[in-house]
């Protein structure tokens, strides 16, 4: 260096050429805007389309009539108002919340475990929720109002067990031992769940319906039931989005950057678990969202969790609203389980993104 370049004066800041400031953060709004526009368009279509097609103007009128303090009066027929506000709107909102939670939880887990195949069910939340739901269905009698509570508690307890076993197994191999603990806990709980449902064969159908996931009975009470947990979880995950980047350099180097990796991980795992358990408690075990949305965002918007977490939330919301729209319209009046749709739509879409990005990488070099 000294031989080739003259030494620069010490304290003179070297200003970058105009237009190159902050290269790592420019255009961060582009993926966010794209995801948000997509979500709004899909949500609008979902509110209009169904066995009864409601014109967009009537949908808008109905929504505005429910905005507090606006005192908006709409000419929309009562039936259409009821269809939009009582049937479709809660469904859209619930799908959006669940999609946002699963996608953000998946992104957080992939960052924490530095594993591209990590999904929010990695630590046993799905197995726990499945067992909780099965217990409620088998022993809970006719009332199904407690089903989300059982599923939520089951999911949260399963992850807590996984975490305690994984941490007890030694601090140093954190990711490794906790993932193995998750596999073991999930296997055990799934075995118990399978035994319970086999014993009561008449309820198998009901249990399977729940496991495959559905928003067919979504209501505003479901939304208000999970909203507190989801808000807390989303706020914590969003606040930790930069920490997820820091954790990617590993326990030791993250420590020399001034953070406590173990403490930070525990907070993120707890938040992701809270949100995921709340989401699956009302939706059932919808698969694939946690992996596909986060990866699509990563491949299109870059590798920083500062961008991935918020964009995945919005993208996951849009994705699940769309999947639910297809689930209830494609074979109308029969509903297809939404888990089937997320996989059928998601897998080819994801592969297309993957292939196109790989080609782009080969050509463009970055």
């Amino acid at each position: 260096m000294t031989a080739t370049a003259p030494a620069r004066p010490a304290e003179v800041p070297v200003l970058p050429p105009p237009g190159l400031r902050g290269p790592g953060v420019r255009h961060t709004w582009v993926p966010m805007v794209v995801a948000a526009v997509l979500m709004i368009v899909i949500a609008a279509v979902a509110l209009c389309v169904g066995p009864v097609t409601v014109p967009p103007s009537q949908v808008l009128g109905t929504l505005l009539a429910h905005v507090p303090l606006l005192h908006f009066h709409t000419n929309t027929p009562q039936l259409n108002q009821a269809i939009v506000w009582q049937l479709r709107a809660p469904r859209v909102v619930l799908a959006a919340i669940v999609g946002a939670m699963l996608a953000a939880g998946g992104a957080a887990y992939q960052g924490l475990f530095r594993n591209p195949l990590a999904d929010p069910y990695l630590l046993g939340v799905a197995a726990g929720a499945g067992l909780g739901a099965t217990i409620e269905i088998v022993y809970g009698g006719d009332s199904s109002s407690l089903l989300p509570v059982f599923a939520f508690v089951g999911g949260a307890l399963a992850v807590a067990a996984t975490y305690l076993i994984g941490v007890a197994n030694g601090k140093r191999a954190w990711g490794y031992s906790i993932v193995l603990a998750g596999v073991a806990v999930a296997a055990l709980l799934t075995a118990i769940q399978t035994y319970l449902q086999q014993r009561d064969a008449e309820q198998i159908r009901q249990i399977y319906d729940w496991i495959l996931g559905s928003f067919s009975v979504a209501s505003w009470s479901d939304v208000t039931l999970i909203l507190p947990y989801v808000v807390v979880s989303a706020v914590v995950l969003l606040a930790h989005r930069r920490m997820l980047d820091v954790l990617r350099v590993g326990e030791e180097e993250a420590g020399t950057l001034g953070i406590h990796p173990a403490r930070t991980r525990l907070i993120v795992v707890a938040a992701a678990t809270l949100g995921t358990a709340a989401a699956v408690s009302v939706s059932g075990l919808i698969g694939f969202v946690g992996i596909i949305v986060a990866h699509t965002v990563r491949l299109t918007a870059g590798g920083s969790y500062r961008i991935i977490v918020p964009v995945a939330m919005v993208g996951g919301a849009g994705f699940l609203i769309g999947a639910d729209l297809i689930a209830r319209t494609v074979l109308s009046p029969t509903e297809v389980p939404i888990g089937v749709i997320t996989a059928c739509i998601g897998a080819p879409f994801f592969l297309a993104v993957l292939v196109s990005r790989r080609a782009g990488v080969g050509m463009g070099g970055s």
Binding site: L257, G258, G303
Partner: protein, 296 residues
């Protein structure tokens, strides 16, 4: 390696007497620093001090305790004895406070392949950003400046997986420098580089050290390079200090042979630099290597 019988402690004389040591001038002080791993003592009662603005190279055979000493200063391992940074005891320092004082470049840094160079360098600002906040305009500007200084501007948006060895090294240094810590610890920073990139990387460190008044403590396996770049050499053997002094003092055939257990020849070039050449102990092709990699 076997404990060496004699500890040769050389007078801590610095040529020119420009820098003071101990008291006010010392920025890193080790007082009977001891690092133990279960049965093994990796660093055994090492006392030394590093002056502000000085470059001290840690040299010694594999397992001599170089990396453990560095990791103790970085706050990564438990230790007995005392470490003072800028005159303050490091033990009660929080992680963030220590990250303000010390930046650390490990032997093989973890570099997530799909992270951009800019985002990676930005990680170095972590100690300056409050826990739940995101980077400020000042943090971005600082990283911008560093990218220019290390001639990484054109790589800013590239993924880490696409970089060459020399580029990776500069990027890792940029991340460490983004911390703005006065003390830079480097564990064999150039082991993966070829000769010209190795020199280039060390030249950058040397320039920045002079420009910004950095203090550098680094493990260097190449004794010739250590002699060329460091102000003083700390020669460790079996966890203890074998010699501490200027390159002239430490790079001595008898001392090095004791420390490394293998004979060397020291050649002085026309412009006064010391070249350390290993002597072959066997004449066959199976002659023993010079001990390049230190076991971690």
């Amino acid at each position: 390696m076997a404990r060496l019988g004699t500890i040769i402690r050389l007078a801590e004389r610095r040529h020119g007497g420009r820098l003071q040591r101990g008291g006010d001038g010392a920025i890193v002080e080790l007082d009977t620093l001891t690092v133990r791993f279960e049965q093994q003592t990796a660093v055994d009662a090492v006392s030394a001090s590093v002056a502000r603005g000085e470059w001290v190279a840690l040299i010694g055979a594999n397992g001599a305790g170089k990396t453990s000493l560095l990791r103790a200063v970085a706050g990564l391992v438990e230790y007995q004895g005392a470490i003072r940074l800028g005159g303050r005891d490091a033990a009660p320092m929080g992680r963030r406070e220590r990250a303000h004082a010390v930046s650390y470049v490990p032997q093989s840094p973890e570099m997530p392949g799909d992270m951009s160079v800019f985002d990676y360098v930005l990680l170095g600002r972590t100690p300056h950003i409050s826990y739940l906040a995101v980077e400020s305009a000042h943090d971005l500007a600082h990283c911008d400046k560093l990218l220019d200084r290390l001639e990484l501007r054109h790589l800013a948006r590239r993924h880490l997986s696409t970089l060459s060895g020399g580029e990776r090294q500069r990027v890792v240094m940029a991340r460490a420098l983004a911390q703005e810590a006065p003390i830079l610890l480097m564990d064999e920073p150039t082991s993966a580089l070829d000769m010209s990139h190795r020199i280039e990387a060390l030249e950058i460190v040397d320039e920045l050290r002079h420009d910004w008044g950095l203090t550098v403590v680094s493990v260097l396996h190449d004794l010739t390079l250590a002699g060329q770049f460091a102000d003083r050499l700390l020669l460790l053997g079996g966890g203890t200090v074998i010699a501490l002094g200027t390159p002239e003092e430490v790079l001595d055939e008898a001392i090095l042979e004791k420390a490394f257990g293998s004979p060397v020849r020291i050649i002085r070039t026309d412009d006064g630099e010391l070249v350390i050449a290993p002597r072959r102990t066997r004449t066959s092709a199976t002659s023993r290597p010079d001990g390049k990699e230190e076991a971690r």
